[in-house]
């Protein structure tokens, strides 16, 4: 149990997917203008990551990795060069599926998160998480927990930036620095705060 808690703490604070690995910056910068929308995107990312991480783990384990096809009697086949294209298709399909299921069973949630779902397919953090869990050789439960933790880290980062940006409206920023430039500097400061966790080893 403690091991899984450690994975979550590690992926939220110490190795935050956004502030330390820079994944998902595009939507991070463009959706963080309002707090409400950033919360919506954050939840959608947590949701999609918790589903795609175990799905991609299973596909890698039973179809793509070296010798993974041995259950079908094909021992010497290594398909891991197909990883990228398969992962991104799985993510796109999963997002579509989630969108349809949500529309059918929870229209209220669909109205709130629906507009963010198509954006998520091309969010680097989703593909990045799938690639990280292969690189780190996680098992099924570890992958799920890691996916959830990464999503939580993204949520935390985007909501904190949105709140800081809201405050920045009252300050007098040089015109050409407004928007992206200032957002980058603010992210730098938030990221510096998160570096404070980096000495902790779990």
């Amino acid at each position: 149990m403690q091991h899984y808690v450690n994975i979550i703490i590690n992926s939220v604070f110490i190795e935050n997917i956004l502030l330390i690995y820079f994944l998902g910056m595009c939507s991070f910068l463009s959706i963080s203008k309002k707090v409400e929308t950033s919360i919506g995107l954050g939840f959608a990312v947590i949701f999609v990551l918790s589903i795609t991480a175990p799905a991609n783990w299973a596909i890698n384990e039973y179809l793509l990795a070296d010798g993974a096809l041995s259950w079908a009697g094909l021992d010497h086949i290594n398909l891991d060069f197909l990883q990228f294209i398969v992962f991104i298709s799985v993510i796109a399909a999963m997002v579509q599926l989630v969108e349809m299921l949500m529309d059918r069973f929870s229209p209220a949630l669909y109205v709130n998160l629906g507009i963010f779902l198509p954006l998520i397919t091309v969010n680097c953090s989703i593909l990045g998480t799938s690639l990280f869990l292969v690189e780190r050789e996680y098992n099924l439960i570890e992958s799920t927990v890691f996916g959830f933790g990464s999503g939580l880290g993204f949520f935390l980062a985007i909501v904190s930036l949105a709140t800081v940006r809201k405050r920045m409206r009252y300050s007098n920023v040089p015109p050409t620095l407004r928007g992206v430039g200032m957002a980058m500097l603010l992210t730098g400061l938030i990221s510096m705060a998160f570096l404070g966790f980096s000495g902790i080893s779990l």
Partner: protein, 209 residues
């Protein structure tokens, strides 16, 4: 059609200055930050992106009249993903150490907004030759910012430029120290933020926000 007509020159030149994908349109930031601790990784990444972007633009432009509108994103994505796989395999075969350094970030060219953005915004409407120029221009515009960020991070973080030591031992003996923050992630954010500011001040682009 003249390859060096002023119109074609504009396609290549615009993304380098006034229409830069990173500092003006804010696309493709992820990889711009992660692999810029040293100039050599930034250079390899630039070459990879220029290659993938120009070829994907040409392929999509060739297919543009046969792609059904509803499934265009997934087709564009598979073209890009296949090209990235090829790039990754080539790097693994000929530059193994470099491919280890780039790691997952090479794969993330697939979700780099620049590639899909140009496919969607330019290649779907223009002829292959123009799409090629546009791909090269945008790839180079991306690379210019990437190498600029890497230049400052390597200079202040390691005291070297492209692997060659710039600050002599005497300077270090006199009390100068490399700035460790530059190698860590906040350094990347600060440098890119300042470059975006400088570039926008030069081209006079102002966000409405």
């Amino acid at each position: 059609m003249n390859l060096f007509s002023s119109k074609n020159k504009k396609i290549v030149k615009d993304p380098l200055m006034g229409e830069n994908p990173i500092s003006i349109h804010v696309l493709g930031i992820c990889s711009a930050l992660a692999i810029t601790t040293k100039i050599d990784t930034a250079v390899v990444m630039t070459i990879a992106v220029v290659g993938v972007l120009s070829i994907s633009n040409v392929v999509i432009s060739l297919l543009r009249n046969n792609i059904p509108n509803k499934v265009r994103i997934i087709i564009q994505m598979s073209v890009v993903a296949s090209l990235v796989i090829i790039t990754d395999q080539v790097l693994k075969a000929y530059m193994y150490d470099m491919s280890k350094l780039l790691g997952v970030f090479l794969a993330l060219i697939i979700t780099n907004c620049i590639v899909l953005g140009r496919a969607e915004a330019f290649a779907m409407q223009n002829s292959p030759s123009k799409a090629l120029l546009d791909g090269m221009g945008n790839g180079l515009g991306y690379g210019a910012i990437l190498i600029a960020v890497a230049f400052f991070r390597e200079l202040f973080g390691f005291g070297s430029i492209y692997g060659a030591q710039v600050f002599s031992d005497q300077i270090y003996m006199g009390g100068y120290e490399n700035n460790g923050l530059m190698i860590l992630s906040p350094g990347a954010f600060f440098i890119l933020g300042l470059i975006v500011w400088a570039h926008r001040a030069y081209t006079n682009v102002i966000d409405k926000d």
